[in-house]
Subunit: 311 residues, 2 copies
């Protein structure tokens, strides 16, 4: 069995930690959002790729959801002297990844090649592919001004009125090698609980991706909205700002026509009938990933739902 | 009074620590060797510039003679995972300097501009200028093979038979802005105890530098050879390999026609007559820089010798 996952950051990474417990990790391809990528002080940072790989490698700082467990921040502190950008918290061990990525990209390698080297360096069996090797940048219009998504999320701590979201460069972006194959050959496509606006939409906006997903039979999404809010990140704010209901129903509206199955949390079970009217079969379970057991249970539930097995 | 110093790494940096105690630091220009510069994992490292600035800023790891006091090496350790070059020991706080330099150079700034920003960031009053903004690379021929000086010194720990030393790119290199002015306007030019072969020769090989030094009246060198060996680094090995006597006399031969004064150590006082025959006035004193007092005394001694004052 082959599984393709469309992945943002923490939510997807935690889901994958469960998924590798229920299927052979090498049967999974994680297609990862790169719209959040940013060049900081000349270093190329791919936050979602690193979050996915660090989680799967078991080195992530679980509490923060990013960076490396027990990392120090001595370089970052020293950067202040030079007025370098220090708002994006890069730990010392984490920096090695960005130095490596930057070095390889400057040598002419593609992001997908570097990502393959990175996941191997971390001993990760799941295939991790950036959505594209081209530069796509998620921009958020806040109080009348377009800013990089990282500026909005980290620098501005998601404050301000969001008026729009766009993906600069997406028109010309091609899917990275392996993306289309993974989608076309997948027995199941999973959209883990990621931000539908700024994590999944960029992936779906890459040429050919949306059509490939729409064509697939077994596509299941897990709602990142539980009880009217997100577990992590600004999905709720962004959905509201763009006029979507902040609920599994709102998520289903975003994915309508693309997914055939949807997992929603027990607290949201009353949304099931409305979602099923959109021709989406709903599975209700606990979707809060507190520990490895709950991650594993959620992954198994989503997979079984898509496969038509009794969950 | 204006002073120009031709500087290598540790020896020069320690001498400068003394010199700033006896004259106004802002009257000193340090023209620094960049032949040891190396690109490591895509980062531009200028070892001698950093050694000079770190010493003058009082942040250097005095014991090692390079890097930052109390620094951690967590990024370096993490680099091993990626098979990145880890033989060149870059500390975490030290890395900020290289990330800054690389970022600014890639933005199109010249090394001299970046170095000026660096010394200001570290609050250093001495003007620090790289010998050139062009790439010059000191190469050492060891056992029949040309290698980068850092490979010879760090990776090979100065093992092997040295057959030659060359400076790749030096023919086309121009002195950095301020180098010629500093030499021409200097009341005294000092060559602190640096490696004459791989620290001072590259500087003297830059177009116009040797002539400017030869033209100056008050040029004083401090012998880096004491009692037949160097305090730090491979000057003795390299001098012997290139056929020079490993003594202040050998050093004098290298600088003959360029310097008018030379400071040698008490243990080498018997070389004074032979050196004076080369038309170089000799001053004998303790040249071992153990502490700030001895650095200060040596700097004052060299300066007074060149100025014709009673030391």
């Amino acid at each position: 069995m082959r599984i393709a996952c469309l992945c943002g950051g923490v939510g997807a990474a935690r889901f994958l930690q469960g998924l590798v417990q229920v299927v052979d990790p090498s049967s999974i391809t994680a297609i990862v959002n790169t719209g959040d990528d940013i060049e900081i002080n000349g270093l190329m940072v791919s936050p979602d790729i690193d979050i996915v790989i660090y989680h799967l490698a078991g080195v992530v700082d679980e509490e923060r959801g990013w960076g490396i467990k027990g990392d120090t921040f001595n370089c970052l502190k020293a950067m202040e002297r030079f007025n370098l950008e220090a708002w994006f918290k890069l730990g010392d061990a984490d920096l090695a990844t960005h130095i490596f990525r930057t070095h390889m990209l400057r040598r002419g390698l593609r992001l997908s090649e570097v990502t393959e080297m990175e996941r191997r360096a971390f001993g990760v069996a799941v295939k991790v592919i950036p959505m594209t090797d081209d530069r796509v940048t998620t921009m958020v219009k806040v109080d009348g001004k377009w800013v990089h998504f990282q500026d909005y999320m980290v620098k501005m701590a998601c404050q301000g009125v969001v008026e729009g979201v766009g993906f600069a460069g997406v028109e010309k972006a091609k899917p990275a090698p392996g993306v289309m194959e993974a989608l076309e050959e997948a027995d199941v496509i999973i959209i883990p609980p990621s931000n539908p606006i700024v994590s999944i939409r960029p992936i779906l906006s890459i040429e050919g991706v949306k059509d490939a997903v729409a064509k697939a039979e077994r596509v299941v999404a897990v709602s990142p909205i539980v009880g009217g809010k997100t577990i992590k990140g600004p999905a709720d704010k962004l959905m509201a700002a763009l006029g979507f209901e902040v609920s599994p129903k709102g998520v289903a509206e975003i994915y309508k026509g693309l997914i055939k199955f949807m997992v929603i949390d027990q607290v949201d079970s009353h949304y099931a009938p409305q979602i099923e009217q959109m021709n989406i079969k709903v599975g209700v379970t606990n979707t809060i990933m507190r520990d490895l057991e709950s991650k594993k249970a959620l992954a198994a539930f989503a997979l079984n739902l898509a496969l038509g097995r009794q969950p």
